[in-house]
């Protein structure tokens, strides 16, 4: 039984610049993302998380090693791997419906077809009654719902999530984590999330990897049960309050602190 992974990184390294001034962002990353999983990449800023996601998106080429999508080398962006950003990624001159329908417009789907295709998505993310609102009139949380719905409208195999909830307040963020989890579970898509929020990573991920500060290396890997259990109907608040949940969070905190301290010692020496 062999399943072709959706995404793979093999001894993947990325340097910015060349020669003496080259800066290693990622160092020998090995990662396999299986279909239907939710992979969270956790790391401090400067750990190359965004670089890794950009390589999977096809926006950056690896310096060494390989990045594969379904066994094939990634060389350009594609709607198979749609990305959601923290901000500035929507088209403010369009209303909510037209933003969500944007990937379909790019494929030449006519207006009627677009409307029909996006209505279920708008309902799923709770935006049905805002379809005709210009996106710039929406709050940050609502805008991120539009971003998620738009990425799903492209019907990608993998959702690449570049800290999509990073700019939101705590309450809205928790709310949207639930929306994100439901979308992932219902669509049966694969998701790769980068974040520096431990709680968010533990809540959402089926698989979690921790990156060290620059150059980014994988320093820990976890398999986590919480998101599957919430998707299966358990109460999110109860799951978040469990001792196991807290223990994993504490362990991750310890790993991150250890590597941050290591980086500081290195600077002093």
């Amino acid at each position: 039984m062999t399943i072709v992974p959706e995404l793979e990184a093999r001894q993947l390294s990325v340097d910015y610049g060349a020669g003496q001034g080259a800066l290693a962002a990622l160092d020998a990353i090995d990662l396999v993302v299986s279909p239907g999983t939710f992979v969270a990449i956790l790391g401090p800023s400067g750990s190359g998380k965004t670089t890794l996601l950009n390589v999977f998106a096809g926006l950056i080429s690896p310096s060494r090693g390989r990045a594969l999508f379904r066994g094939q080398p990634i060389f350009a962006p594609s709607a198979d791997r749609s990305m959601v950003f923290q901000r500035h990624a929507l088209l403010p001159w369009l209303n909510v419906a037209d933003n969500v329908a944007f990937p379909l417009k790019l494929r030449g789907v006519d207006g009627r077809g677009r409307r029909n295709a996006i209505m279920p998505l708008l309902i799923q993310v709770g935006l049905a009654e805002f379809a005709d609102k210009p996106v710039w009139t929406l709050s940050g949380g609502m805008q991120q719902r539009v971003g998620l719905a738009r990425a799903l409208a492209a019907d990608p195999a993998v959702l690449l999530l570049d800290e999509p909830l990073g700019a939101l307040d705590a309450i809205t963020r928790e709310d949207l984590q639930r929306v994100l989890l439901d979308l992932w579970a219902l669509s049966a898509k694969t998701a790769v999330l980068i974040t520096h929020d431990i709680e968010e990573a533990v809540f959402l991920a089926t698989h979690l990897v921790v990156l060290s500060p620059r150059p980014g290396r994988i320093v820990a890997r976890f398999e986590l049960p919480f998101s599957r259990r919430v998707a299966a109907g358990e109460e999110p608040r109860a799951v978040r309050a469990e001792a196991d949940f807290a223990a994993i969070k504490a362990e991750l905190r310890g790993i991150l602190d250890k590597h941050a301290a290591g980086a500081r010692t290195l600077v002093r020496a």
Binding site: W93, P103, A154
Partner: protein, 280 residues
């Protein structure tokens, strides 16, 4: 004034603010100031003309200028009515504006997208932009004569830098996330240009157009000094040669009034077409 809508979703309220301008009908303060200022300076003018600090030949009273305005509108001056003079001037400026748009918007996009194109055109535009059009008017006449084309060309040259440079800056100001997101949603390079970069640059293109229009309009008098038969600049120039100061004043005030209307129309268009500007 804003109204707030609450959406209950997953148990917690999320706010969206909606712009709902519901102004009571009353005269805005700015308009009151504008009217007050106009009345004040009209009064000063009247007083100066009435006590004849300078001879009426040089400073006619407002009522004399108004009477002249009526007669120039009805029966004309220098073989054309005020409307015909203004029409000829507007035709030149608007033709130059359309040509400048057709030329400068693609150029600005090229300059914004490609460092090579920017490298070639930027120094040229930056070098001639600060030169007053009157300074290169003689060269335009030597090369293109004194016909209508030369006048339009002079105004065109004055407008192009404003539109090209603001288009280029609008293109360069597109957030990289916006482009990358579109690419991972399946957009080709041309689709990114058409659906992301161009709409994103629209606010700055409109600002460039407004500035270009103002520059073009102020270049008008210079363009019409040379062998024109019609136009507000020509009317002013002819009248000044015969010391008909009231016609000069009618011409100047007409130019100011039209510039004022153009400025406000452009600002209205900006608000209308790009309400999302600065609100991203």
């Amino acid at each position: 004034m804003t109204t707030e809508l609450f959406v209950i979703e997953h148990g917690l309220p999320e706010r969206i603010t909606e712009q709902a301008p519901r102004r009571r009908i009353r005269i805005p303060r700015s308009l009151l100031f504008l009217g007050g200022s106009a009345l004040f300076w009209l009064g000063v003018w009247w007083a100066l003309a009435a006590v004849q600090v300078v001879p009426p030949l040089f400073l006619p009273t407002p009522s004399a200028v108004f009477a002249r305005f009526v007669s120039v509108t009805a029966s004309g001056y220098a073989d054309a009515t005020l409307l015909q003079h203004a029409g000829a001037s507007l035709f030149r400026v608007l033709t130059a504006l359309v040509l400048a748009w057709v030329f400068a918007v693609p150029l600005g996009i090229g300059m914004g997208v490609s460092p090579a194109i920017r490298g070639i055109f930027d120094p040229v535009i930056e070098a001639y932009r600060p030169v007053p059009p009157l300074a290169y008017l003689p060269l335009v006449i030597i090369w293109f004569g004194i016909g209508e084309e030369a006048k339009i060309l002079l105004i065109f040259l004055a407008i192009v830098p404003a539109i090209a440079l603001s288009t280029a800056s609008g293109v360069r100001s597109v957030p990289v996330e916006r482009i990358n997101a579109a690419r991972t949603l399946g957009a080709t390079r041309w689709q990114v240009l058409a659906h992301v970069i161009l709409p994103n640059a629209l606010p700055e293109i409109l600002v460039g157009t407004r500035i270009g229009l103002a520059v073009g309009w102020s270049t008008l008098v210079a363009a019409e000094l040379v062998a024109a038969q019609r136009g507000l600049g020509f009317m002013i120039w002819t009248a000044s040669n015969f010391l008909v100061t009231d016609v000069v004043l009618v011409g100047i005030l007409s130019i100011a009034a039209i510039a004022f209307v153009m400025e406000f129309t452009m600002r209205w268009l900006e608000r209308r077409l790009t309400p999302w500007k600065d609100k991203q």
